[in-house]
Subunit: 157 residues, 2 copies
Amino acid sequence: MTFAMDPIAFAHTPFSDTTQIPRGLGARHDAEGILQLKPELAPGLADIAGFSHLFVIWVFDRRKGEPELIACPPFDNRPHGVFATRSPMRPNPLGLTVVELLRVDGAQLHVRGVDMLDGTPVLDIKPYLSSVPAERLRRGWVGEAEARVAAKPPNGN
Amino acid sequence: MTFAMDPIAFAHTPFSDTTQIPRGLGARHDAEGILQLKPELAPGLADIAGFSHLFVIWVFDRRKGEPELIACPPFDNRPHGVFATRSPMRPNPLGLTVVELLRVDGAQLHVRGVDMLDGTPVLDIKPYLSSVPAERLRRGWVGEAEARVAAKPPNGN
């Protein structure tokens, strides 16, 4: 069972190399970019301007190597199961980003919070409708890693 | 440019027919289900138990007909661009659901909040790490439709 998908859009971002993308604990994702839809799909954007945030499902199209089930996030010195991380080396090379919608200009969505490479193919865009209340959210090893790093910075002496 | 993806898991849910899935304004998604990973991928679940919520990216594998750029959500009487809705008739048949992780049992994730058909193929599972603060979230036509429905229920007399 295989599903084949074509991009609906491409992301224009400030990042030509993955080293330029802020990563790790406390990384701020406030870079602005444009999601350029295929012109024939622009009617599908009707009414999207009313939403403050969008989900963007995209493809890690330039990852190298084979998927790995154990990932080593850049900001922790411990390995974790790939599905407990956002590693690009997951079985299906799907990325998911929540962006803030700044404005709509024809087939272009101007957004804030991009964290993908320039030229990244986008498979879907959906409205962000609700959030998990902060008091019900547990962030697993990420919260633990933050506590460890706070106690002893990984690059500290 | 086409990307081919194979399921990493299948969802076991109480829903054999789409009419059984709660939809629309105020619908509660508290149905429990199981995400059954392919056994060989189970090592990728290491450390996932520490997260309270997960993103699940899945495929509308039983939708019928061709994609449509204008969607008519079941709980509004006005059409909207498909990317401003969660309609299954989007160009790529991708679904996205936030579920609460109840427990991990080998290659099975027991979760709450499933809204997909029983047997649905799952392409990816990611940790849910942060929420958009409620005061910064605008929900476009959904908020407006809620207000309209509150003022005049669609099935009211």
